[in-house]
């Protein structure tokens, strides 16, 4: 889905709020949230693709304003409600206030029927697709051409795995793009590499 989470290449942002060797956690509740979603994954309540997608489905203004661990909490709570573990009403009764969750789930899909495999050095392009469900190709590579420089083992196909749809695992390819090809009018020279699932790619003409 073309969600607010798909940040790569968006303009208008200021400087990174960087401090060398920054701490990972600031508050105890952040560690608890991290533990609780890990526990839910361990218990098989949801998988990592469902979890990532639940965060992507947050109302965009909520997504942008929430801290990282608030997004985690919202993803965890949304999936527990959607999976029927407990209800939003129960959460709000315990929290003694509103507990905003993510918005509704769209449609998943299985592997591309005509997918092919690629080898190192192949010139590939990213299919121009706009899906309503989970997808792990960032928008900035859509329709762009690059070269395969790495091949990874087969992984669950996220577009299916986040939606309970059956699919084959498939490899991902590290594809090298020129930044100037991704944003012809406004990018600094660099090589940008993206890990792309087989179903998202075709051989470039």
């Amino acid at each position: 889905m073309d969600g607010m989470h798909d940040m790569g290449g968006r303009q208008g942002f200021g400087q990174v709020r960087y401090e060398p060797n920054a701490p990972v956690f600031h508050e105890d509740w952040e560690k608890r949230v991290n533990a609780l979603y890990s526990l839910a994954v361990k218990r098989g309540i949801f998988n990592m693709d469902e979890y990532r997608h639940a965060i992507e489905r947050m109302e965009p203004r909520h997504y942008l304003a929430a801290s990282y661990y608030e997004r985690s909490l919202t993803g965890l709570a949304t999936l527990c409600v959607e999976k029927g573990v407990f209800s939003k009403e129960e959460l709000e009764a315990r929290a003694q206030g509103l507990f905003p969750l993510a918005l509704a789930l769209g449609h998943g899909r299985s592997n591309a029927r005509d997918r092919e495999s690629f080898k190192l050095g192949d010139k590939v392009s990213v299919r121009t697709e706009h899906v309503s469900g989970h997808v792990r190709a960032p928008g900035y590579v859509r329709g762009k051409c690059g070269v395969v420089v790495g091949i990874s083992p087969a992984y669950p196909f996220p577009d299916a795995h986040a939606h309970g749809v059956t699919a084959d695992d498939e490899p991902t390819y590290d594809v090298r793009f020129r930044a100037q090809d991704l944003w012809p009018d406004a990018a600094e020279a660099a090589m940008i590499h993206v890990g792309i699932f087989e179903s998202y790619l075709v051989i470039a003409a």
Partner: protein, 198 residues
Amino acid sequence: MTHAVDLDEKPASIEQRVDAIQSLMQDHGMEPAPFIAEFKQGLESHWVPDNGARVVAKAWTDSAFKARLLANGKATVAELGLSMPPHHRHLVVLENTPTIHNVICCTLCSCTAFTIIGLPPDWYKDLEYRARIVRQSRTVLREMGLDLPEAVEVRVWDTTADTRYMVLPMQPAYSQGWSEDALAAIVSKDAMIGVARL
């Protein structure tokens, strides 16, 4: 089923929301308290950048290890007793050279080789880094204190699948001949992300 978010009304505080979900998980027999305690222990002792620092120091001092590391990161870090979650099926180690500088990111969320280089800091997961590092890499790195010579090619790696990446920084000239332990002590998480040089 749609859960509307009412932006005009203030939600319960974040602590109240975390307490609420923890107590419901408790009621459903998931035993969150001992898991949280164990998890916090893990955060402090297992998922720390010292792991990656040991890998880097070994690669600097043992060329055969480095060759194996660059060919198969996951199997090779296991030689040092380091592991990755089962869903991270591959670790790609990116070697910096005098003419190539690698930097990693996750524009879609926060993916990192956290068991090796440690959990990502706030700035890595913030909107600014995710939006800008792929498009204005050199400027962003300069703003973060790393001014690369023009002749150095910048290679950005966006962690969009479950393969993980880490940067193998260049060994600083002043550290030639040091022991592995002494070398490991100068390797930072930021250098393994690629926003700092040593």
